[in-house]
C-alpha cells in the first residue's frame, strides 16, 4: 500500500496548474493615441525560473473621449484560451457583439496582446467613426 503522506511530483504540478489568476500579479498600462483616443491593456502573469514574465491572460480595450467622458468601444480578451473581440454596440457597455473573425488564431497570450494593440493602432479611426456613426446622439 502506498504511503498516503507521500506526495508525487504530479500532484504538485496539478496544483500549480489550477492556480487562480486572481493571485497572480497584474499590470495595467495605457497608450495615448490622441487626446481623445487611448488603448488600455491589462495582463496577468507569473514569473518563470529565469524571471521572465509568462502572460496568462490579457485584456486590451480601446476607449474614446466624447464631451469629457470616456467610452470603451472595443475590447479584446484571451479569457477562454484564444483571442476574441467584443464590439460595443451603443453607449450601454453591457451589450456587445463577440466574435473571432479576422483575429489572430495562433500564438500565445503575449503575441495576441501585441496583435490586438497593433490592430487598434492601425484601425482606431475606423472603429471610432463606425461607433460614432451608430451613436449619432452621443455628443448632444
Amino acid at each position: 500500500m502506498k504511503n498516503p503522506k507521500r506526495r508525487t511530483g504530479k500532484l504538485y504540478k496539478n496544483k500549480s496548474k489550477s492556480e487562480s489568476l486572481d493571485l497572480l500579479p497584474t499590470i495595467t498600462n495605457e497608450i495615448l493615441l490622441s487626446e481623445e483616443d487611448r488603448i488600455t491593456y491589462v495582463y496577468v502573469y507569473n514569473l518563470s525560473k529565469n524571471k521572465k514574465r509568462n502572460i496568462k491572460q490579457t485584456h486590451i480595450s480601446y476607449e474614446i473621449k466624447v464631451l469629457n467622458k470616456w467610452y470603451t468601444i472595443l475590447r479584446y480578451d484571451s479569457a477562454h484560451g484564444y483571442l476574441h473581440r467584443h464590439t460595443i454596440i451603443t453607449t450601454n457597455p453591457n451589450n456587445d457583439i463577440v466574435n473571432t473573425d479576422g483575429i489572430k488564431k495562433r500564438g500565445d497570450h503575449h503575441k495576441w496582446m501585441t496583435w490586438a494593440i497593433n490592430d487598434i493602432k492601425r484601425n482606431f479611426f475606423h472603429y471610432r467613426s463606425s461607433f460614432l456613426k451608430r451613436n449619432k446622439d452621443i455628443d448632444r
Binding site: 479569457a79 467584443h86 464590439t87 454596440i89 453591457n94 457583439i97 466574435n99 473573425d101 463606425s130
Partner: protein, 85 residues
C-alpha cells in the same frame, strides 16, 4: 482572398449587425440585459465553427448569448435566437 481582405470582410459583418441593432432598437429591447451577440455568416463555415465554440465559452462565463445569423433575405437580414445552457 488575402488575409486582409478576409479580415475586412468580417469586420464589416460585425458592423452590419451593430448598425442593424441601432437602427432597430426594438430588437435589442426584446433581448435580455447584459447580452452578447455572436455572429454567424451566411457563407463562411470556418468562421461559424469558431464562433460556435465562442458561444460555449461565453455561456460558461455566465453571459447571456444571442446567436445572430446572417440571412440572404434583404428585408429580414438577421435571424436571432437566444442560446440557453
Amino acid at each position: 482572398m488575402s488575409k486582409t481582405q478576409q479580415a475586412n470582410k468580417n469586420i464589416v459583418l460585425t458592423e452590419k449587425l451593430a448598425m442593424f441593432l441601432t437602427e432597430n432598437p426594438q430588437v435589442d429591447e426584446e433581448m435580455p440585459d447584459n447580452v452578447s451577440y455572436v455572429t454567424f455568416s451566411a457563407k463562411d463555415k470556418n468562421l461559424n465553427e469558431l464562433n460556435a465554440k465562442l458561444i460555449e465559452s461565453l455561456l460558461h462565463e455566465g453571459k447571456q448569448v444571442v446567436r445572430a445569423e446572417e440571412t440572404k433575405d434583404k428585408s429580414n437580414p438577421w435571424k436571432f435566437s437566444i442560446v440557453s445552457v
